[in-house]
């Protein structure tokens, strides 16, 4: 339990620094902005209380905002994503439910499950983030194009990180 807390704090700090120091500097023709920091919200253990998920996401988003000078943009998107995490976990739960010892990782639930889980949440996060940033509908399709490319890039990074830190064999 204590081990889990420490692990999540370290993950929070690592993803935050990785996001603001490295990923925020990646600029490929203004279209590709990967936001890997959302991996922290995805990887929180199942037994984390709901209110804690919301609060942690809020502070994570706010920290990213502080460095990127974007007000509360990332905080808003992260809180929305954290809010939807619970219903989506319920929706795609395996028949026997979640075990208290399990982690929401690709190693324990397989590729299909993880892809649905991460895919929906990342896409929601990016849609909210990019449309609130653009804030008018005149660029609806160019923004949509950015959302799709960036979500794809973020998901690729999330999957790479999953394989990178895997301890067990994939089921």
């Amino acid at each position: 339990m204590i081990n889990d807390v420490v692990k999540n704090i370290l993950r929070f700090l690592f993803l935050l620094l990785f996001q603001v120091l490295i990923l925020n500097n990646i600029q490929l023709s203004g279209y590709l902005n990967p936001f890997l920091y959302v991996l922290f919200i995805l990887m929180l253990p199942f037994q984390t209380p709901n209110w804690l998920v919301l609060l942690l996401s809020f502070f994570l988003g706010l920290s990213v905002d502080m460095f990127a000078d974007t007000g509360g943009l990332h905080a808003a998107a992260s809180v929305l994503m954290a809010f939807l995490r619970q219903p989506i976990l319920k929706l795609i739960a395996p028949r026997e439910g979640y075990d208290i010892n399990q982690q929401p990782t690709i190693q324990q639930f397989g590729f299909g499950w993880f892809f649905t889980y991460a895919g929906i949440l990342v896409f929601v996060h990016h849609i909210f983030l990019f449309y609130v940033e653009a804030f008018h509908f005149s660029e609806f399709f160019s923004t949509l194009f950015r959302i799709i490319l960036s979500s794809f890039f973020t998901l690729t990074l999330i999957f790479i990180s999953q394989f990178f830190f895997s301890k067990h064999k994939i089921q």
Partner: protein, 275 residues
């Protein structure tokens, strides 16, 4: 009362979500205002110091480029030196110095954080109030204009880049002296748009665009860019002009902050007239 408490405990999740979301949206809206929330500003102490440490490392990667640029600038400046001109006449002209009063003061600073891929781009400089930077100063580099200072802390300042959807800079086409406003539509960091260029002007691709004398922030005649494309809008007497920046916003490092010593006098006079 009991029902009220029951309601809160039962729906705390949705209520907490609404509270946090409202707070975030409030911050987003606050950020659009001219006076942005100070504690969330990139010029605040924690992120400013960290960005400076970070740029201390990445600074070395671009050293070759920067040396080239400095060498070129040195050559340019040397070309303007008095002793690189030979006197052509024997009569000498005396200039009384009391006729000239200094209007602009230049300061040097380094960019410690920069973005170009958002719709509202900001830079952070490693100079602030202690170094003499004031709010609403112009920021330029050896290639052209960069932005306007929007927020100053003790040792850092936050600059609104020209690459900002609210950026409006008075410019002029050097050849014709036609005044216009430069805006940025957010498409990419190399091009910007000019408003209301009358279609009777014979502009050509490559014409130079400089800052105009209508700006109380930028000195007159600074290089902005060159005309890249222009198109006549059907049924209109104006051109749709796109210019190419002379500044490479992805490679900003050493920049100059320009304080206009007479700005207050000018703006206070102008504001008086508007009343």
């Amino acid at each position: 009362m009991r029902n009220l408490i029951l309601f809160f405990t039962r729906n705390y999740y949705i209520l907490l979500f609404i509270v946090l979301e409202t707070l975030s949206i409030f911050l987003v809206i606050q950020n659009n205002h001219f006076q942005r929330a100070h504690f969330l500003n990139a010029s605040n102490a924690i992120s400013g110091n960290m960005y400076e440490a970070y740029s201390g490392v990445t600074y070395y990667f671009g050293l070759k480029n920067k040396n080239d640029k400095l060498a070129r600038e040195n050559v340019n400046l040397r070309n303007q030196l008095r002793n690189s001109f030979s006197p052509q006449t024997t009569s000498s002209v005396f200039v009384k110095d009391s006729l000239h009063k200094q209007q602009y003061v230049y300061l040097s600073a380094k960019v410690v954080n920069n973005s170009t891929n958002r719709r509202k781009n900001y830079l952070t400089l490693n100079a602030g109030k202690n170094q003499g930077v004031t709010n609403e100063s112009a920021v330029i580099c050896s290639q052209g204009i960069v932005g306007i200072v929007r927020d100053v802390s003790a040792n850092f300042s936050s600059v609104m880049s020209v690459l900002h959807e609210n950026s409006r800079i008075p410019v002029t086409i050097k050849k014709f002296g036609e005044n216009s406003i430069l805006t940025w539509n957010g498409a990419d960091e190399w091009h910007a748009q000019m408003e209301r260029i009358p279609s009777h002007l014979e502009i050509r691709k490559g014409d130079t665009v400089v800052t105009s004398s209508y700006s109380s922030i930028f000195p007159e005649g600074l290089m902005v860019g060159t005309i890249d494309e222009f198109e006549k809008i059907a049924g209109n007497t104006f051109f749709d002009v796109t210019i190419k920046f002379s500044t490479d916003f992805n490679r900003l490092s050493y920049i100059n902050v320009v304080n206009n010593l007479m700005k207050e006098e000018q703006t206070s006079l102008e504001n008086k007239n508007q009343k």
